[in-house]
Amino acid sequence: MQKEYILSGFGGQGLMLAGVLLSEAGILDGKNVSWIPSYGPEMRGGTANCAVVVSEEPIGSPIVDNPDVVIAMNLPSMDKFEPLIKKGGLMVFNSSLIKSTPKRDDLTYVAVPANEIAESLGSEKVANMVMLGAMLKADGWVSTSSLGKVIEKKMTGSKAKFIPMNIAAIKKGEEIAG
């Protein structure tokens, strides 16, 4: 089995990093992963995105044309990727910034007020972690416990003090999706 993800938003919203963390959590889960930043003409138009594939098999194309799951942090991301998601797929969107309503009836939508939650936790910077927590909970393919381990492993030295805030952000996201 294989799942294909696109994480998309404005540059600076931490989607590239969120994709890396998702990939590393996939490795901890014992799966094959690939991560690739937005490449080609899709780089234009107000979004920075990355594609992540997490698979039990060797991964074919790392390029994701029709994702199973999309995290959309802003409206251009929602507009761009909503039509491309596979039937029965998952769209996790940042309802703090996206006020439009879902256009498809064959997807599962999870609305996450990620900016508000992140601010309530102390920093808007963890909005990406709120989204990631919500996505992992709703999707279920990569474990949140592995994500937690990755964060603990990566955030060392002066960054270690931010671990609890990030873990809290993931938990909040899980609650919203659960």
Binding site: V20, N32, V33, W35, Y39, G40, P58, G60, S61, I63
Partner: protein
């Protein structure tokens, strides 16, 4: 077993080269391979090596030429326009029977082109590239793990045949991240122990490293020697992967990034009952002529999938030798073939609806 780490392709290239005993890197910035020199500028001083940013690609390859002449394991990396500039030095290096590693993270061309992944430097990589009769051993990895493994063995392969070695990859393989396991750190050889390098004529006759002889008879001898080397490399160094070819009725041929998309095409086709297989050259020089020639005996046809206007397709046609039709799925410009479009073309060919 060592730990699986998430690594960016370009950085994995650099780390693999260090582990293979490469201690010298000379390069010049160009997208999309900048993480290679950046990584080397941090890493080589840690292991007692030398990283130097040259004033141009021309200077960089000639520094590589110098370091290789001096008996060292040395590498450079660049992307298409930069590799064009390096062709002068690569020709001299080949003529001097030296074996540095050259990495090309191919981008769209011609000219300045763009910075997106492409496979349009196939001719340049496999047919010589610069002036004169020469070849490089050219590896075309399809994953970061394979890129790491090939870089690890590339220096020894090159040194065995005294031929330059190229890793022909592209922006996707350079920019993406995958989990990799690195091979163990190899002890670098002392350049002074080189059997043919210039190290100072201490207690032995003076040596000359050159790609030059005014006497045409002697130049002829060098050319013959090179031809002999190629023959040996063609006999022993071909690498190719066949995916679901045993019962295949139709075959895709692709290398590198496009071969990964083709693997997905094969899986989708199989799920729909289409008996499709994939032949994936891992060395594009020497080219897996035999594997393709053999497949020509049993499949109905071939579709070559390339991120260019079609370059490898010429080698595929030579290997098929007119026995079966060879079609082309060409995606130039830095764009990437789409699984469903490739599959649609396969179905159209099989159903006789044209290409």
């Amino acid at each position: 077993m060592s730990e699986r780490k998430l690594f960016k392709g370009n950085e994995a290239v650099a780390e693999a080269a260090v582990r293979a005993g490469c201690r010298y890197f000379f390069g010049y910035p160009i997208t999309p391979q900048n993480e290679i020199p950046e990584y080397m500028s941090r890493r080589l001083p840690e292991v007692g090596g030398c990283f130097l940013q040259a004033e141009s690609e021309v200077a960089a390859i000639n520094m590589v030429y110098g370091a290789a002449s001096a008996g060292a394991r040395v590498m450079t990396s660049s992307s298409s326009p930069g590799i064009s500039l390096k062709q002068e030095g690569i020709s001299y290096i080949a003529g001097s029977l030296l074996s540095p590693l050259i990495v090309n993270m191919v981008r769209g061309g011609p000219g300045l082109g763009d910075i997106q992944p492409a496979q349009s430097d196939y001719f340049q990589a496999t047919k010589g590239g610069g002036h004169g009769d020469y070849r490089l051993i050219v590896f075309a990895p399809a994953s970061i793990q394979e890129m790491v493994d090939l870089i690890y063995i590339s220096f020894e392969t090159g040194e065995k045949y005294r031929m330059p070695v190229m890793i022909l990859a592209d922006g996707v393989l350079g920019q993406m991240m995958e989990s990799v396991e690195f091979p163990a750190m190899k002890e670098p050889k002392d350049p002074k122990s080189s059997a043919y390098g210039v190290t100072g004529a201490q207690g032995r006759p003076a040596r000359v490293v050159k790609a030059f002889d005014l006497d045409p008879e002697l130049m002829y001898n060098l050319n013959e020697k090179l031809a002999d080397t190629w023959k040996k490399a063609e006999e022993s160094e071909v690498r190719v992967e066949e995916y679901l070819m045993d019962d295949a009725e139709f075959a895709l041929v692709a290398y590198g990034t496009s071969s990964r998309i083709c693997r997905s095409v094969v899986d989708k086709a199989r799920s729909e009952g289409v008996k499709l297989g994939l032949i994936r050259p891992i060395t594009v020089w020497p080219f897996p002529k035999k594997a393709i020639g053999k497949a020509a005996g049993k499949v109905r046809g071939f579709l070559t999938v390339e991120m260019s206007l079609g370059q490898m397709v010429e080698d595929v046609r030579l290997a098929v030798d007119g026995k079966k039709p060879v079609y082309l799925h060409a995606v130039p410009g830095g764009l990437i073939p789409k699984r469903d479009e490739v599959l649609a073309q396969v179905k159209s060919i099989i159903q006789g609806k044209g290409v």
